[in-house]
């Protein structure tokens, strides 16, 4: 495994010292001086209503209130994939918490006091908080003008309904597939909404200076996408892309919640009406729960046909998404899963309907896993149920049907090289699959659960990355890129890739957080595509630098380039053993020749990557014909679960997760993703749950009532396993793994609960209460 010097090595993070010393600057840490203004938002108290009037007069009288704005001031729409959203509500509100007005204060206190005095009069409309109700013919419509909303060409909204997008995927002959089956099994699965809960809440500061340029400092996964959406939405103000600058400092956790644009558009827009001032908006924890994206809720109906020998013949997967009041980003979650809801299986006859439904709940959007967690809960629960009905071991069943390289995906493209079988086998071995564990405590039952997972980056076919690389006098490097280190270790991994090509240690490479004025384009840090996509751009930039270096040395020393190579921060030669030209001697100031003149100059390089094979063109009725997904990352997981038979309390004794990273650039960072992602996934199934009342109000928007894991909730043992089947177009063969680590958590628990206590639970979360009640019901039934 010594193929590489820096790639594949557990190098310590290059952002370590600043993050453990408190030096790292996050959005809220930036000082703007005494002239900073503060925005406080007036939020809708109604889930669906006409705004009859807004009276701001009392608010304006408050000492320290600078100005009050309402929707009238900003009649601008925005949205990443579908422009269905306004910066402030116009004539209507569609969820509790929707921004109706903003009060600008000299102090946060003045702004807050003013916001409390803004009087909004509503005329309530019928409220629909459940996607199945919203699909009914007599349901109230959230967006009567849906047919007029601009959207990407691969979305298919159904005007005059609440269906914002309907992704249909059809392959083979479904009826024939079910006829061939010896067993057809149907079931339904339910997944509620979830919150990202990054510890840093959203914060953004907008400043429109007297020179007419807009700068936004933003806690964001997507600085360039934000710049683009700001420029688009604020074009009526006369702004163009060059006038808009987004500066993204360190981000205190993203998990998809800081992808695209949510609240950042507010200070950006407000700033344009507050020329000369900076205006800051920071979400409270409560607003963070309500007024950013949430993970979408799901009702999934599954029907799968299998032969006696375990071969899957057909799958009919209908997924109904509670996408919330606005789906400008969330509809792409629906789209992504609609293409991939066969899971990592080889299935000849397929029908998938992935239906994006408007409801009067907060907007759904990107959340680590991008819909695949929700889909896999049903699918992988279902696969275990079917295997049991066939009397077949569920791991053997999965091995038999697991997708292999060259098998066709649901939309007809070839599956990429992958190590799924190796993942399954390694996990089964590590968890000692097939060996039942009996608890010594008679009050406890122990079960094992297994699950596969897969996920592809969901991105437009032209999502691209780019990189600048410049050498300094001492041959240290500034790597200038625009992905965000949201904790995954992006900066370190990119440094390792550049280091490998240039033979300069990562510790001599500085990567800073981006500024769209100076850093080259990056689509977004989402979709677990950044190691692959930005990694390719960085590798190309490093190769560009290397080419410039070798060309210069060839020219000056008249040594053919193919005899030159880089090693230990120097240029060396295969034919002249003594030739050793340290990079620091010439990468900025050039090489002096005999006559005292210098050749060369500063080495500045660039690289770019766009997946030119990707295409979203396909038949809207079948999804056949395109290549919407660049590749899938696959894996398997299993765990040992202890269930208290009296209280339903569950405890994970051991969890194993194997993931095919293609090539681990930094194995320690992958292990970190597994440890962290798995716990985040376990929390969604064991206790997290957003509770709404029937009027669409979130009942638990805080960490007291919405429990995220603490140090007490960690599994006793987590075994991360890295499998490496290279991705042919990845940097050194790498592909992304960040989101995937949480994908198998819910079905593993569901399958382990059944193994432990013989009860199949089909709705998340599996709270102790729910498990205890299920056991009690079973006992009562048996008693009768």
């Amino acid at each position: 495994m010594n193929k590489y010097k820096f790639v594949g090595k557990p190098i310590v993070r290059i952002d370590g010292r600043e993050k453990v010393s408190g030096a790292a600057i996050y959005g809220d840490d930036i000082d703007f001086g005494p002239n900073l203004l503060y925005a406080e938002i007036v939020e809708s108290t109604e889930a669906h209503a006409i705004i009859k009037s807004i009276d701001t007069s009392e608010a304006e009288k408050v000492e320290g209130v600078f100005k009050v704005f309402t929707g009238k001031d900003f009649p601008y729409k925005f949205g990443l994939y579908m422009k269905d959203r306004y910066i402030f509500a116009q004539d209507k509100v569609r969820f509790v918490g929707e921004q109706v007005a903003a009060v600008i204060g000299r102090t946060p206190q003045a702004a807050k006091k003013g916001a409390q005095l803004v009087k909004v009069e509503y005329k309530p409309l019928p409220v629909v908080t459940n996607q199945m109700d919203a699909l009914k013919k007599d349901s109230v419509l959230l967006h009567p003008d849906l047919g007029e909303y601009p959207h990407v060409p691969w979305f298919f909204p159904k005007p005059k309904t609440n269906v914002a997008h309907w992704r249909k995927t059809r392959k083979g002959d479904l009826e024939k597939g079910f006829k061939e089956a010896d067993l057809v099994f149907e079931d339904e699965y339910f997944v509620p909404r979830y919150a990202h809960c990054a510890i840093e809440t959203h914060v953004a500061i907008g400043k429109y200076d007297l020179g007419g340029r807009l700068t936004v400092w933003s806690s964001s996964q997507s600085p360039h996408t934000q710049r683009h959406l700001f420029a688009e939405a604020l074009a009526p103000m006369g702004l163009t892309h060059k006038d808009v600058r987004v500066i993204a400092p360190h981000v205190g956790g993203g998990f998809g919640g800081k992808a695209g644009v949510t609240m950042e558009i507010i200070p950006a827009a407000l700033a344009t009406k507050l020329k000369g001032y900076a205006v800051k908006l920071r979400w409270t924890r409560q607003q963070e729960f309500v007024n950013t994206y949430q993970r979408l809720g799901v009702v999934a109906k599954l029907k799968v046909g299998v032969k006696k020998d375990g071969t899957i013949t057909a799958l009919d997967h209908k997924i109904y998404w509670d996408a919330g009041a606005y789906v400008e980003y969330g509809a792409n979650v629906v789209n992504a899963v609609g293409l991939s809801a066969i899971g990592p299986y080889r299935i000849p006859n397929v029908s998938i309907d992935s239906v994006c439904v408007y409801t009067n709940l907060p907007p759904g959007g990107a959340y680590r896993g991008f819909g695949y967690s929700e889909m896999l809960f049903g699918l992988e629960s279902h696969m275990t149920q079917i295997a049991h009905k066939l009397g077949m071991d569920e791991v053997k069943f999965r091995l038999k049907n697991a997708i292999k390289e060259g098998d066709k995906t649901a939309y007809g493209a070839d599956m990429n090289p992958n190590g799924l079988l190796e993942c399954i086998e390694k996990v089964a071995k590590e968890i000692d699959w097939g060996k039942k564990i009996v608890s010594k405590d008679p009050k406890k039952a122990i079960g094992k659960g297994f699950s596969l997972f897969w996920k592809a980056p969901a991105m437009p076919p032209n999502a691209s990355s780019s990189a600048f690389l410049k050498f300094n006098e001492d041959a240290s490097i500034n790597l200038i890129i625009s992905g965000m280190d949201i904790g995954q270790g992006y900066q370190t991994v990119m440094a390792q890739i550049a280091a490998e090509v240039l033979s300069v240690p990562p510790s001599k490479i500085r990567v800073e957080t981006p500024d769209t004025d100076r850093n080259p384009y990056e689509w977004q840090t989402v979709a677990s595509h950044i190691t692959w996509s930005s990694g390719n751009a960085v590798k190309k930039a490093a190769i560009d630098a290397k080419e410039q270096i070798l060309a210069l040395v060839e020219r000056v020393f008249v040594i053919p380039k193919d005899q030159l190579y880089l090693e230990d921060e120097a240029v060396k030669c295969t034919t002249r053993k003594n030739f050793n030209l340290p990079l620091r001697d010439f990468v900025v100031n050039g090489i002096m020749t005999e006559d005292g003149t210098f050749k060369g100059g500063p080495i500045n390089a660039r690289g770019m990557f766009l997946p030119e094979f990707s295409s979203a063109n396909s038949d809207p009725e079948t999804s056949q014909g395109g290549h919407p997904n660049v590749h899938y990352t696959v894996g398997a997981g299993a765990l040992i679960l202890e269930v208290d038979k009296d209280t339903g309390k569950m405890h994970v004794i051991k969890a194993v997760e194997a993931i095919d990273a293609g090539q681990a650039i930094n194995p320690d960072l992958i292990k970190g993703q597994i440890t962290g992602g798995l716990l985040q996934g376990l929390a969604t199934v064991l206790y997290e749950d957003m509770r709404y009342d029937e009027k669409g109000k979130l009942l638990n928007p805080n960490f007291t009532d919405y429990k995220i894991p603490t140090a007490m909730d960690v599994p006793d043992e987590i075994v991360p396993i890295i499998v490496e089947v290279p991705q042919p177009d990845g940097p050194f063969g790498a592909r992304g793994i960040g989101e995937h680590t949480m994908l198998p958590a819910a079905p593993m628990i569901a399958n382990a609960v059944e193994d432990a206590i013989g009860i199949r639970i089909k709705s998340m979360p599996f709270t102790a209460e729910k498990v205890a009640m299920a056991m009690l019901n079973l006992k009562n039934k048996k008693g009768k």
Partner: protein
């Protein structure tokens, strides 16, 4: 407005505060000390932890006026003159990811190791149970603390 005087990271400081201003806001907005972070503003997350006279507190739950005459230490103070062994271990074991909770976590872990040089795993979990971290899964934090403990002489 009242004038308070206290030791902040080894330096005697005076500052005017309103009686209802939290220590977190005063540290961040009036004294330029930014390592304590606001994550919830109600004592749930621990990102704002600092030490008052060596004991960790959530600075969002303490009024600034209460620290008059006391000694407040934040992560900036701990990091001088150089990073502690615990901080070095945090780097070694990837005990942070986004880094936002790290100041509070390190304060809690520092307090633990000051009081209990060789904590067992349960004691570590207990000590950290008031610090929420959404990224790491906590395991790497346990490892860093145990490593420091192991390398200390018994």
């Amino acid at each position: 407005m009242a004038k308070i005087k206290f030791i902040l990271n080894n330096e005697m400081r005076t500052v005017d505060v309103e009686p209802n201003e939290t220590l977190l806001d005063v540290l961040r907005d009036k004294m330029g000390v930014k390592s304590p972070k606001c994550g919830c503003d109600r004592g749930d997350c621990g990102a704002c932890a600092v030490m008052i006279d060596g004991k960790s507190v959530r600075s969002c739950l303490v009024f600034a006026i209460e620290v008059n005459g006391q000694e407040v230490t934040t992560l900036e103070g701990i990091s001088q003159p150089k990073l502690t062994k615990l901080q070095e271990a945090f780097i070694q074991f990837n005990s942070f990811q986004c880094g936002y909770c790290a100041p509070g976590v390190i304060i809690s872990a520092t307090e633990l190791l000051n009081n209990n040089p060789h904590p067992d795993l349960e004691e570590i979990k207990e000590a950290l149970s008031g610090n929420l971290c959404r990224c790491t899964g906590y395991q790497p934090i346990f490892e860093a603390i145990m490593d420091v403990s192991r390398k200390r002489k018994k």
